[in-house]
Amino acid sequence: MALAKEIHGAYSRLHTNRLGLWLFFLSELFIFAALISSRFYLQGFYRPAELNQLLGLVISVILVLSSLTAYRAEIASAHGDQRRFRLNILFTISLGLIFLIGVVIEWREGFHFFPPSTGFGTLFFTMTGVHAFHVLTGIIALTILYFLGRSGRFTSGSYWGVEGVVKYWHFVDVAWVLIYPTLYLVS
């Protein structure tokens, strides 16, 4: 009876944690929805010809690939496979850093062709900047996760920390999947 209560308590706690995290994602979604709608409200379908669409595609592929490695890290952690968990977290961090380098390259081109003082430039730098900040915070969280994992913090039965951070990383990917066509492809 006591064991059943304990299991039920742990399940409820996990369920509450998940619900809280999804509510946080919902609140974050409003920020990105406001940015996406402001793009259409202020600039319509206008897109500068100098915008590097191919680089946009490359960094999108990198971010989607990082979602796969984050997913694999979570699955490995859920099955107690610590070596694969750490390896995939390292891959995810590396891909996140490569994505940020891609954004910096985009910004260098952006400052030249459509600086922040222009209408499109304001939107471009705000949207990619807010998103890049989320990527950066995700990388910091993944790094903390890596070191916690290395010290044996997570087991196959207790890995909420991994699940939460990986979900956050996927959310950052979802936001980009919507931002990329909005900024780079509509015309």
Binding site: I75, A76, H79, V174, V177
Partner: protein, 67 residues
Amino acid sequence: MKSDQRSLMRLGLWVFVALMVVEILEYIVGVGLKRGAWPFLVILAVPGAGLIIYYFMHISQLWRREE
């Protein structure tokens, strides 16, 4: 690697392949169509985001009773 772990890893790989197809199709539509690309982009981007939310973020855990 356990068999259920392997099958989950394989599922993740298929989702990734589907997302790659979505991203590349979006690019082709965005570059190829000079006008009126947005309905096609919406049709591609929303299911792409849905794939991540359903398979990678496991949204169904929210209404599942037991683990």
